[in-house]
């Protein structure tokens, strides 16, 4: 069973629908026992970092996620979930879960594209990956594949070894991060058509050693 962590942060049903569509059993839950008993974990979310951390603490899910990291369970972070596993977010000046070293930064406000027009915030829409590292969850993906993003902040891991893929939006930012049993994407695989579903399927079958 795959536990999709429910902490009042946005449209979790879309993750559930995509995982079910792929034929895997999953449950949207905030129950700590259910999470402890699950085989793998998806940590999604949209919204603001401050409110998200408050909910996680209130529900005791911060410890549940950290325990899953120690237990070596496969964990997939998505969007806000990916930001929350860092040490600290500039958004609402939030102390986060400190699972991956580094912090979460806001896009600079005055970014321009190549033709000189202003780059909008949030970074919303389809964008590709560069510098894709070899990883079982990223297997089969290539630089022509695009994924759906919607975010105004991005993760900035301290250790470049933790960067598994980057994306260009005015700056190059880490759009896939991870180490050991954790992988996390800034984009929404559940909303990214074929390559997104392929990544989700890889995750659902991934056995990190």
């Amino acid at each position: 069973m795959i536990a999709i962590i429910d902490y009042d942060a946005g449209n979790l049903a879309s993750v559930e629908r995509a995982v079910s569509y792929l034929g895997f059993k999953c449950i949207v839950t905030n129950n700590i026992k259910t999470i402890a008993g699950s085989e793998r974990i998806i940590f999604p979310g949209v919204g603001a970092a401050g409110a998200a951390m408050d909910s996680l603490k209130r529900l005791g899910l911060d410890s549940a996620i950290k325990q899953a990291v120690i237990d070596g369970k496969p964990i997939l972070g998505i969007c806000l979930g990916t930001q929350i596993i860092m040490e600290y977010s500039e958004e609402n000046e939030t102390a986060c879960l400190k699972i991956i070293d580094g912090f979460v930064k806001a896009f600079p406000p005055d970014m321009k594209s190549e033709d000189g027009s202003r780059l909008k915030i949030p970074h919303m829409g389809w964008n590709g990956l560069k510098n894709i590292k070899k990883h079982p969850v990223l297997s089969g993906l290539n630089e022509d594949d695009e994924f759906y993003f919607v975010h105004g902040y991005y993760p900035y891991p301290t250790d470049s070894e933790h960067i598994l893929g980057t994306t260009d939006y005015g700056i190059f930012f880490a759009s896939v991060i991870g180490f050991n049993n954790i992988i996390a994407t800034q984009f929404h695989p559940e909303k990214s058509g074929r390559p997104g579903l392929s990544l989700l399927k890889n995750f659902c079958m991934w056995n990190p050693c």
């Binding site: 879309s14 949209v46 594209s113 829409g125 579903l197």
Partner: protein
């Protein structure tokens, strides 16, 4: 780099689309769920549904459509038409839409934008704007006025001013429809589109007037739009999304390929 988005728009009334997809071989499908699946597989980057059902009690039919669409496609989609309050927004989002589009209700009660953004996040809130050119005046300095009720009621509000205010209130995106260009298939209103897009910091979807791929090229370059809404040009089988994207790609516009 970020791709420009191509977004088919489906008008739904009482659970069926008002314009089905007519293929070149004259097969017509009107079921919005099947159409969604068709456009998803054909390379649409996102979908927009407008519920043009007149009566309030038939809204549940639309919610059911949204739920079934969400089970069928794995790209984002928004739902607009008749969204009046936070409860309407919540129903649509819980049923599986990524975004809600608010138009008349936001003009009448701007606080619905900030309430919606607070409850669900700015990324969920699309401000729909219907705009008509009326000439520059003291009251309407840009020359573009906000109209509601399907273009019938002039509101005395300047479109540019309204777009800037809506961004401040927390709208995450703007879908800008030119009443003058809508339905003409003669091209988007480029001047209006670039005026609004250059003066807001949030993404802008251009709507109204698409008839051929060149029109999308113009609005995504000169018009400074981040995305383009299309309807008849694909619904009637005149063009496929692949053909439109291939054209844009050949002109150097970044689009998503290989879906």
């Amino acid at each position: 780099m970020l791709s420009k988005r191509i977004i088919p728009c489906l008008d739904v009334r009482g659970g069926t689309t008002t314009k089905g997809i007519r293929f070149k071989n004259n097969v017509d499908i009107g079921d919005p769920v099947e159409m969604a699946r068709f456009y998803y597989e054909a390379g649409a980057d996102e979908l927009v549904f407008y519920d043009i059902t007149a009566s309030h009690e038939k809204r549940n039919i639309m919610i059911d459509v949204v739920r079934r669409v969400a089970e069928t496609i794995f790209i984002p989609f928004s739902v607009g038409g008749g969204i009046r309050d936070i409860d309407d927004m919540r129903n649509v989002l819980l049923a599986g839409a990524e975004k809600v589009s608010i138009n008349s209700a936001a003009v009448k009660h701007p606080e619905i934008i900030s309430k919606g953004a607070e409850a669900f996040g700015s990324q969920c809130i699309v401000l729909g704007m219907d705009v008509k050119y009326v000439g520059e005046s003291v009251k309407i300095p840009s020359g573009y006025e906000i109209v509601i009720n399907g273009g019938r009621k002039y509101m005395g509000i300047d479109a540019l001013k309204w777009a800037i205010e809506a961004e401040k209130l927390g709208a995450g995106e703007i879908c800008l429809n030119s009443i003058d260009a809508d339905g003409t298939q003669d091209g988007y209103e480029l001047k209006l589109t670039s005026l609004i897009s250059e003066n807001v910091g949030i993404p802008l979807i251009a709507s109204g007037g698409a008839g051929k791929p060149e029109h999308l090229y113009e609005v995504l370059t000169k018009g400074k739009a981040d995305a383009a809404l299309i309807a008849s040009m694909v619904h009637y089988g005149t063009y496929t999304i692949s053909e439109i994207k291939a054209y844009l790609d050949s002109c150097g516009v970044k689009v998503r390929k290989g879906w």
